[in-house]
């Protein structure tokens, strides 16, 4: 069994060192009309290259672009669709991070790819394979304000409309060279009764994944009860947050896995040191029950909720933990 290190998703695009302020300054100047769109794009590309360098230096083997271009996890993709506009701010789950609520004025329709350019930029800067990120159709539907009477109250229909639109993103990201496309569905943990809707939507995305592997990732909630359902999802990888659940490890031990697991065992929300022994014990119980040749070791969620220096340390910790764990196994 191989343990591959991956960055879960987001990464702090700004840090406290002067050179880590580039994008913040560029965005501020761009908003005031002092630099061009081209200058802003250049700052984004340089920042993506920088965060990828940091990931690789820390030992990450499957990197992301850090979601550096994303205004927030929801509106970045949703509001690029036709008939969807950005609305007011709302807190993103139990974080102190706010997103613009998409306002759905009619059937969401895909008009242009957002992810393909992100993937190409990341690949230009990376010697390692790249994972593309996508906040899933169900979470997007649940977090949207619906102003279209024909869609109001019909979460399944709106989810499937988003899925059809995002399928084009999946297709474009796969063609652009993403090795893995991660679909984040944190909302499912809040409303587990909709697991069937998520399965249906993932089916739409899976048809367009091409050579890429598709991952369903959840966080900010307890995934233990849904874990068995995840095994039936039309995806290749299941990403899990272990920080909200006391039973998740036991459930995996009981059910096993025929899919690759992305094990979010390192806490992406706290500066408190992670306990290596707790993580090793979890790995001891989980890995023998996985019937594929590798799993990912990652953080419980994207690392943007931490300051840049702490995020860097979390990545380094993962590499160190993997080394110590594998050495212990001879």
């Amino acid at each position: 069994m191989r343990l591959v290190i991956t960055n879960n998703g987001s990464y702090p695009r700004v840090g406290d060192r002067p050179q880590e302020q580039r994008l913040r300054k560029a965005l501020s100047k761009w908003e005031k009309g002092r630099i061009s769109e081209q200058d802003l794009r250049k700052a984004e590309r340089l920042t993506i290259a920088e965060v990828i360098r940091e990931q690789i230096a820390a030992g990450v083997e499957l990197v992301t672009d850090g979601q550096v271009r994303w205004y927030d996890p929801v509106s970045h993709l949703a509001c690029a669709l036709e008939n969807v506009r950005p609305g007011g701010l709302l807190r993103f789950f139990d974080t102190n991070f706010f997103f613009r609520q998409p306002v759905v004025e009619g059937e969401p329709r895909w008009v242009r790819s957002v992810l393909a350019e992100d993937v190409r930029t990341a690949l230009d800067s990376s010697t390692r394979p790249v994972k593309a990120m996508l906040t899933g159709p169900y979470t997007t539907a649940r977090l949207s304000i619906v102003n279209a009477p024909e869609l109001a109250g019909d979460v399944r229909r709106l989810t499937l409309l988003f899925a059809e639109a995002y399928a084009r993103e999946v297709e474009a990201a796969a063609k652009a060279g993403a090795k893995v496309i991660q679909v984040d569905e944190p909302m499912l943990l809040q409303t587990p009764g909709d697991v069937g809707v998520v399965r249906e939507a993932l089916g739409v995305l899976a048809e367009c994944r091409g050579e890429a592997q598709l991952s369903l990732t959840t966080y900010f909630g307890d995934a233990a009860k849904l874990y068995g359902d995840f095994q039936d999802m039309p995806v290749d990888i299941i990403g899990l947050d272990f920080t909200y659940s006391e039973d998740l490890v036991s459930n995996i031990e009981m059910v096993g896995s025929s899919k690759v697991l992305a094990l979010g065992l390192v806490n992406g929300r706290t500066t408190r040191p992670d306990d290596p022994e707790t993580i090793f014990r979890a790995l001891d119980r989980i890995l023998p029950r996985v019937s594929v040749d590798h799993c990912y070791l990652t953080s419980s969620c994207g690392l943007e909720y931490l300051p840049r220096d702490r995020a860097r340390r979390k990545l380094e910790l993962m590499t160190s933990l993997r080394f110590r764990y594998m050495r212990g196994k001879g």
Binding site: P12, R13, V14, G15, D16, R24, L27, S28, E31, Y71, D72, G87, G88, L89, L90, R91, D94, T95, N96, F97, F98, F99, Q101, I145, T270, T271, R272, E304, Y305, L306, P307, R308, D309, R310
Partner: protein
């Protein structure tokens, strides 16, 4: 009735009082001074002179604009949590973390027992109050929000941290009351984060306010109110200050369904938009508020602090509120 509470405190406010949530944009000279102070090019005294100048500017402006309950504008503060973490013991100031868009704050880290050492805001309150005959609000960040928006490397649980912080913030509330502050706002924007923790936030607020002679307001914003309403009404305060316009007034049906037994400070303008709402839009929102709630219970203000706007935008947003409220008072004299 909260009006009776105000009267007990010797405060006589007009019908539909207008106020602000707390922060105002800092003038260019203060931004420059803060930057120079950070680079150790000027002394703390020199920085404070500019903070006083900016506070005077905003106090005079509010008085003239017709605001009824004034704020000092927080010219001496950066982030609402970091400011208190910098002034109480037990915190380290961590690195930058994004809050939304291109906005970041230095997220504090609790590393030791949290301890209030000396009054934090009272001198600024006294200074601001000395500049006006109208009441000035004292403004604090609540214990639940300080806990939730900090990393915690010391306490064993969120509950333990929240209650420990509450006991220290109470000391600041006492200090403000002793300084003569009769309207004290304790902000809890994080309160909707985990609905199951609402009782904890209420318990912490009780620690902060119990037995203190003041009219208490709490400001709450950008959360899923429907998940914590009407439980929110258990908060031991007299006034709930709510962001409503950003979320397209979607909380109004909830308020109408479960009428609050508290005053409501009704957010009339979106502070995250550069566009100044037309007078008719603000008047329409006031009309909807008056339909849903008794007029004696209504205050009006922007959705949240205005510090992210330019001075011109902030003033224009407040002016449109004052104009719309004046029109509403004329239509519904009381």
């Amino acid at each position: 009735m909260s009006r009776e509470r105000l009267a007990e405190l010797g405060l006589s406010l007009p019908l539909l009082p207008v106020t602000s949530v707390g922060s105002f944009p800092k003038p260019g000279y203060l931004k420059k001074a803060r930057s120079e102070y950070a680079q150790r090019k000027i002394t703390q005294e020199e920085l404070e002179q500019e903070e006083e100048r900016a506070t005077r500017f905003w106090m005079e402006w509010q008085d003239e604009a017709g605001i009824d309950v004034l704020v000092d504008g927080e010219m001496y503060r950066g982030d609402m949590v970091t400011f208190f973490a910098e002034t109480m013991r037990g915190f380290e100031i961590g690195g930058l973390v994004r809050s939304y868009g291109n906005r970041y704050y230095h997220k504090p880290i609790i590393v030791r027992e949290v301890e209030w050492v000396q009054p934090i805001t009272t001198e600024w309150f006294r200074f601001a109050q000395s500049l006006t005959r109208k009441p000035v609000k004292g403004m604090l960040t609540g214990p639940y929000t300080v806990m939730d928006w900090s990393f915690d490397e010391y306490y064993d649980s969120r509950r333990e941290a929240t209650l420990a912080i509450a006991a220290q913030i109470r000391k600041e509330v006492e200090a403000l009351a002793e300084a003569g502050c009769r309207i004290i706002q304790i902000d809890e924007p994080a309160i909707s984060v985990r609905p199951e923790e609402l009782p904890l936030a209420i318990e912490a607020m009780q620690i902060c306010t119990q037995g203190i002679e003041a009219y208490f307001i709490t400001h709450i914003c950008y959360g899923n109110f429907e998940r914590i309403y009407p439980g929110l009404l258990e908060l031991p305060v007299h006034n709930l200050d709510l962001e409503l316009s950003n979320s397209e007034l979607d909380m109004l049906p909830l308020l109408a369904e479960n009428p609050p037994d508290k005053d409501i400070s009704f957010g009339l303008v979106d502070v995250h938009s550069r566009d100044v709402e037309p007078l008719e839009v603000v008047q329409e929102r006031i009309g909807m508020a008056l339909e849903a709630l008794p007029r004696e219970r209504l205050w009006f203000d922007p959705d949240c602090g205005l510090k992210t706007r330019t001075i011109e935008e902030a003033q224009a947003k407040l002016e449109v509120i004052v104009s719309a409220v004046r029109a509403a008072r004329e239509q519904a004299p009381g």
